[in-house]
Each structure stands twice: as structure tokens, then as C-alpha cells.
């Protein structure tokens, strides 16, 4: 049925994303430094460790990625959540990215059914917190940071 491998990326998949169609891809970030664990949390705005954890996950405006080692914070990276603009499957797209960047823990207020399923597949640990929790407080309370 396929007469040529047109998916090699020429022509139509360039433009705003580099990925299929017009949807922006999730940002690239380096893998967690060795010896650290990577924690992800959806946040409502970008203010470092003072960012409030968002009530939404799949379509949260920003995603915080925190690398922790030996109770100390090694990296804090807050990126725009491109999955928020997905017509469908936003939670899945975000879940896929969380797996790709090697995160092992997710802190959120609630998880939609799709992202929940995706994270379960690799046993990503999920910690649910009350709405309005500040990222830094959550990390301390959950014992990731001393």
C-alpha cells in the first residue's frame, strides 16, 4: 500500500513544530544527571520553586522539572507545556514526554485518565497534593528535599 516512505520529514511536517502537523512539540531537555532522581510537577506559572502546582495536569500552562540528589536540588527547569494545545490526547502527549525525559516521580493535584494510565505503565510514582501547594513546599513535605 505504501509506495514511498513520505514520512521522512520532507515538506509537510516542517513549519511550526517540526512534528506532525501544526502542533508544537514538547521542549527538549537533557537527561537527569547521574545519581539524581527527576521529579515533574505541572505548575500554573513559572516562578522557580515558588511556582504553584496546577489543578490541571495535561493542559497545565507550565511543567516544572526538578532533579534532586541526596536531598539537595541539582536543577530546576520550568518549561511551557506544548501539550496544552493538543486537540486531543494532551495528557497522553505530556505522559509520553515525562517518560522520555526519565522522570520517576510526578507531583500533581489530580491526573486525567489517560496520563494516569501512561504513567502506570512504567511505574512512575505519583504523589497527589492539595490545590495551591507551592512546589518547594511539596518537595520538602514529601521528603525529597531536606
Amino acid at each position: 500500500m505504501v509506495t514511498s516512505m513520505g514520512w521522512s520529514g520532507r515538506g509537510y511536517s516542517r513549519g511550526r513544530g517540526g512534528m506532525w502537523g501544526y502542533q508544537a512539540p514538547m521542549p527538549q531537555i537533557p537527561p537527569p544527571p547521574s545519581g539524581s532522581i527527576r521529579i515533574v510537577a505541572p505548575v500554573d506559572f513559572s516562578n522557580g520553586l515558588n511556582s504553584p502546582i496546577s489543578m490541571r495536569t495535561g493542559r497545565a500552562p507550565y511543567i516544572a522539572v526538578v532533579d534532586v540528589s541526596g536531598g539537595k536540588i541539582v536543577n530546576v527547569n520550568i518549561v511551557q507545556n506544548a501539550a496544552a494545545t493538543a486537540p486531543r490526547g494532551a495528557g497522553v502527549q505530556l505522559g509520553q514526554w515525562i517518560l522520555n525525559i526519565g522522570a520517576s516521580i510526578v507531583i500533581a493535584v489530580s491526573l486525567g485518565p489517560n496520563i494516569d494510565m501512561v504513567l502506570r505503565q512504567v511505574g512512575v510514582r505519583v504523589e497527589l497534593v492539595p490545590p495551591g501547594t507551592i512546589l518547594g513546599d511539596a518537595l520538602a513535605k514529601l521528603g525529597f528535599v531536606k
Partner: protein
């Protein structure tokens, strides 16, 4: 064999009750096939006290991943427009059935040929036969996204048996999507049912955009005519401007009573003004469809 499609606004306009009334009245003398295309929420059978049984399953394409061939390259994940595929690193490709739109991109882009065509049930065709009136119901699985596909397949099924009947009536759900288009395409006449509310008028205008673009002959029925504060005057003007013949069913307390008791007003209150209008409409339809008195 003649085909009529009864379309109209969202729940409450009385479209299904009217379609069922028309079907029942024609069925006194003729062999009629009534097709319920409101696949998300079919209710013709409740008005007919019928319990249709499944006669066919409806499928949609779903990909099947052949794990022994899959090299976990992730191309399918990249080209799925709805993120129904997830690459679990070093493990497998996860398929999320509820998001799948059955487009087939994954099957095409897989460089290993590791995705083959599979199918999943998205709905059913049900049937009940009651003397001269036969009922076919298209029903989608709850939560199923591909309702247009369920409608289209039901229509295709019905096309094959249609010649056994003198009249085929489609009860078409509100909207202007694919399934509705397919039903209208086959119809000799489209009957649009509306009510004199702003939403009813909004839906009527949208529906006529579709009907005009398809160049279909149609008749409009303004149900619940005379509703206090209703926009029937504007609707009548709109229909006249579009050269659409229309009929009126007056709003009366009997319609509400019949709805509450789960019957058609023609059965429950045959002498009421609304019931008498419906009978008159059916006589007109008989003339139009069969050119007889």
C-alpha cells in the same frame, strides 16, 4: 420505494415523536422501515414499546502492534495526530483505544510493517419487527467517538434491505455531520422539525445551509407552534424566503402530557389539536410521496 429523512433540533423539539407518529400512521396500510440514527441516544424504541435485538456489530479500524516486529522506533507515536500511541521506553508501544480516530497513519509510517489492521466494536445494529412497521436502530457504544461511522454503517445496511418496503423513514439526530449528510443524500424528501425557540431557529438555519448545499427537496414542521414568546414569525419568514413549504403543529397541553407518559400524542390524545395536525401532515406526506389522496 421512497425515503424520508426527519431531521431537526436537539432533544425536546419532538422530532422523534413526530417521526414515530408518521411511521405508525403510514404503517396502517403500508410496509414501513423506520431507522433510528440517533446513535448516541436512540429513543424511537421507547415510544414504540419495543425491545430491538442486536443483529450486527459495527467495527472501526484499530491498529494492532506486532510486538515481535516492532523495533520501538516511535515513528507511529510521532505521526499519530491524536496521541493514541505511547512509546514506553525499551518496553513496548501502548495503544490508547479511546483516543483512536482510525485514520491509519500509524500503519502507513511503520518502517517495520509491525502494525496491522485490526478492528474494534464501536456499535451495533438492532432490529425489531412489529407487523407492518419494522424498526432498525443504530447504536454507538457509550463514550464512542466515531458516531458518524456507526450512522453511516447503519445506513449502508439499511440500503440493502430497503427495497422490501414502501417507505423508509430515517430519524436523524441533531447536527450537520457526516452521518446526517449520508442520510439526507439518500432521501427523496427531508422533513425538518423545529420549535419556535432561539436555539431551534439557530439549528434550523444551520440545517438549511446543509440542505441547500445538497439541493434537497424539503418540508419544515414548526412544532409547538404558538409557544408564548416564540419566534415562529421569524421562522416562517425564513422558510418563505427559502421557498420551503411548511406545516405547523400547535403547542397544547396534550403534547406535554403525552411526553410525560412516554407515548406519542397521536395515540394518547387522538382528538387533541396537536394530534389532528400530525394526522393532516401525514395525509400531505402521503400525497407527496405516493401522489395519491
Amino acid at each position: 420505494m421512497k425515503i424520508v429523512a426527519v431531521g431537526g433540533g436537539k432533544g425536546g423539539t419532538g422530532k422523534t415523536a413526530i417521526a414515530v407518529s408518521i411511521a405508525k400512521m403510514f404503517a396502517i396500510k403500508r410496509k414501513i422501515l423506520l431507522v433510528d440514527l440517533d446513535v448516541d441516544n436512540p429513543c424511537t424504541y421507547t415510544l414504540l414499546s419495543s425491545k430491538p435485538e442486536i443483529i450486527k456489530e459495527i467495527y472501526a479500524f484499530k491498529p494492532k502492534i506486532l510486538e515481535d516486529k516492532c523495533k520501538l522506533c516511535g515513528k507511529c507515536v510521532e505521526y499519530c495526530p491524536v496521541h493514541a500511541l505511547v512509546l514506553i521506553p525499551s518496553k513496548k508501544i501502548l495503544f490508547i483505544k479511546t483516543l483512536c480516530e482510525s485514520c491509519g497513519n500509524c500503519m502507513i509510517v511503520c518502517p517495520e510493517g509491525a502494525i496491522k489492521e485490526d478492528k474494534a466494536v464501536i456499535g451495533w445494529i438492532k432490529e425489531d419487527k412489529m407487523d407492518n412497521l419494522h424498526l432498525i436502530v443504530g447504536e454507538a457504544k457509550p463514550g464512542e467517538r466515531k458516531t458518524d461511522e456507526v450512522m453511516t454503517e447503519t445506513i449502508e445496511y439499511v440500503e440493502k434491505i430497503a427495497e422490501n418496503y414502501e417507505l423508509l423513514i430515517f430519524d436523524v439526530p441533531p447536527g450537520t455531520g457526516r452521518g446526517i449528510y449520508d442520510a439526507f443524500k439518500l432521501a427523496d424528501l427531508v422533513v425538518t422539525v423545529t420549535e419556535p425557540t432561539m436555539l431551534g431557529f439557530h439549528d434550523l438555519k444551520k440545517l438549511y445551509s446543509l440542505i441547500r448545499s445538497m439541493n434537497k427537496k424539503s418540508i419544515a414542521i414548526i412544532n409547538k407552534y404558538g409557544l408564548k414568546g416564540g419566534v415562529q414569525d421569524e421562522q416562517e419568514e425564513f422558510l418563505r424566503n427559502n421557498r420551503v413549504q411548511y406545516e405547523k403543529i400547535p403547542y397544547d397541553e396534550y403534547m406535554v402530557k403525552a411526553y410525560v407518559s412516554g407515548e406519542t400524542v397521536v395515540e394518547a390524545y387522538p382528538d387533541s389539536p396537536s394530534a389532528r395536525s400530525i394526522k393532516k401532515i401525514v395525509k400531505n406526506l402521503e400525497k407527496i410521496m405516493f401522489r395519491s389522496a
